[in-house]
């Protein structure tokens, strides 16, 4: 269980996250939503130890993560797919994936399911990451995080730059990971896709936790959708048609 309590972060004098608390249990997907600039990425970075919070605590199964150096956090079972593909550009695809395996002493065979997810990566193994297309880089970043077999996975807009076919396949993979007991903290701007995946939803508004509840409750409240997310019509239609695919299982678990 990932527990975030009273998390407060600032850049200089500007507080960008205030007193945010939530948890992610094994085998559940928590969607963290909010407008651009609401503090979603900052929250993820603080959990991963990439940014030192001003106040608050982050714990994984009771173990305090706050204050740990960033390299220690993935070893404890927290995986992170940052926004905008932070790869090692000079390393090959294979080397990038091995960095993921190293985190928790995985074997090369652990990469096989990742090639099933993104077949093109097998053809690109010897290619330097910098020479990949944007979408291929996104695949490597996701595969690298999964190679570390995280217990809790933090994803910052993981479908960004992926063609519709692969975006749908990634969402299916997340549903499968959840079924295996992995907890997922999903930051996603495609509201409909996020609501279909999520067991629970937390919404940030200018750095504060403005709302928590079920996807069904959020869907049903048009005023809330408009106020917190600026979504006017039924979610998914204005520009963000959700990728086709099963997403979350339809029935309750």
């Amino acid at each position: 269980m990932l527990t975030v309590e009273g998390l407060t972060c600032a850049y200089g004098q500007a507080r960008v996250v205030h007193q945010v608390s939530f948890h992610v249990a094994p085998g559940e997907v928590l969607a963290l939503l909010g407008r651009n600039g609401a503090g979603k990425t900052t929250t993820l970075r603080a959990i991963m130890g990439l940014l030192r919070p001003v106040a608050g605590r982050v714990r994984l199964d009771g173990v305090e993560l706050t204050g740990l150096p960033p390299h220690a956090v993935p070893r404890l079972g927290l995986g992170y797919v940052p926004q905008g593909r932070r790869l090692f550009p000079a390393l090959t695809v294979e080397e990038n994936l091995r960095m993921g395996l190293l985190v928790r002493d995985g074997r090369a065979a652990d990469l096989e399911p990742l090639f099933a997810l993104f077949p093109v990566l097998r053809e690109r193994l010897r290619q330097r990451a910098a020479t990949l297309s944007g979408g291929e880089q996104q695949m490597v970043a996701t595969a690298r995080a999964l190679a570390a077999r995280p217990r809790i996975l933090l994803l910052d807009e993981p479908t960004e730059g992926l063609m519709p076919l692969l975006a749908a396949r990634l969402l299916e993979t997340l549903a499968a990971l959840r079924a295996q007991g992995v907890g997922v903290l999903l930051v996603e701007q495609r509201i409909e896709a996020a609501l279909r995946m999520a067991d629970r939803v937390a919404v940030l508004e200018t750095g504060r936790l403005a709302w928590q509840g079920s996807p069904a409750a959020l869907r049903a409240d048009e005023g809330l959708l408009l106020r917190l997310l600026g979504v006017r019509r039924a979610p998914g239609r204005p520009g963000g048609r959700a990728p086709e695919g099963p997403g979350a299982p339809r029935s309750a678990r």
């Binding site: 850049y11 407008r35 651009n36 600039g37 990425t41 926004q83 905008g84 093109v120 690109r124 020479t131 990949l132 297309s133 944007g134 979408g135 291929e136 996104q138 695949m139 807009e157 960004e160 730059g161 992926l162 063609m163 519709p164 076919l165 692969l166 975006a167 749908a168 396949r169 701007q189 495609r190 509201i191 997310l229 600026g230 979504v231 006017r232 979610p235 239609r237 204005p238 520009g239 963000g240 048609r241 086709e244 695919g245």
Partner: protein, 252 residues
Amino acid sequence: MVAVAALTPLLETVGLTKRFDGLAAVQGVDFSLTPGEIRALIGPNGAGKTTLLGLICGRLAPTAGRIRFRGRDITDLEAHARVALGIAYTFQVTSVFRTMTVFDNVVLAAQRRWARGWRAALAADGRAVREEAARVLEGVGLTAGWDRPAGALPYGHQRLLEVAMALAADPILLALDEPTQGLAEEEIALLTDLLRRLAGRLTILLVEHNMAVVLELARRVTVMHEGRILAEGSPPEIETNPEVQRVYLGAA
């Protein structure tokens, strides 16, 4: 804008090819754009879309083939010379000046048009440039953070700023590489409206995976696959094309 005969393509590529270390990212592409249209360029990840844009904008030199813009062969022109001819572009990787304010980034971009001879008089007037920058920022919906360092903007807004910078150069052809990445749905709707309003006055080449945006904006869609053009047609033709469904859309 100089009048161009209606049937003359704005841009035309003939046999355009780009190889990287033996890998043919773009292979013998014949492609053309009609003045004033919005063309969507879609295709699987790694199909060569960004490379084709890079060749058109002059960021990359082709291995073979020619590129003509408004009837003139521009194959051997550097990127800055193409900007001066009216080709503006934004790329997936954000290229804003992070420590400069949002506003100054746009002002700097607006000054690019100095390169375009007869506009020098206008651009030399600092006030006109600043007014233009403010107008463009308003157009993309980025007025709130105009005096903040660009690097402090959320990722999606940095990409919107890039669109503003491209527009500030008053382009004839605007090439956008996945401009909706990192944007929330309301921001996507705003950008879509803006591009629709711009169409006709300028020509837009749009690389985009968000099919709702593609279907809403483009009258023609070009699909690339493995460095070649797989299909080209109206949005309904492309949506129902079995090959496109198989390699890209993933629909049954």
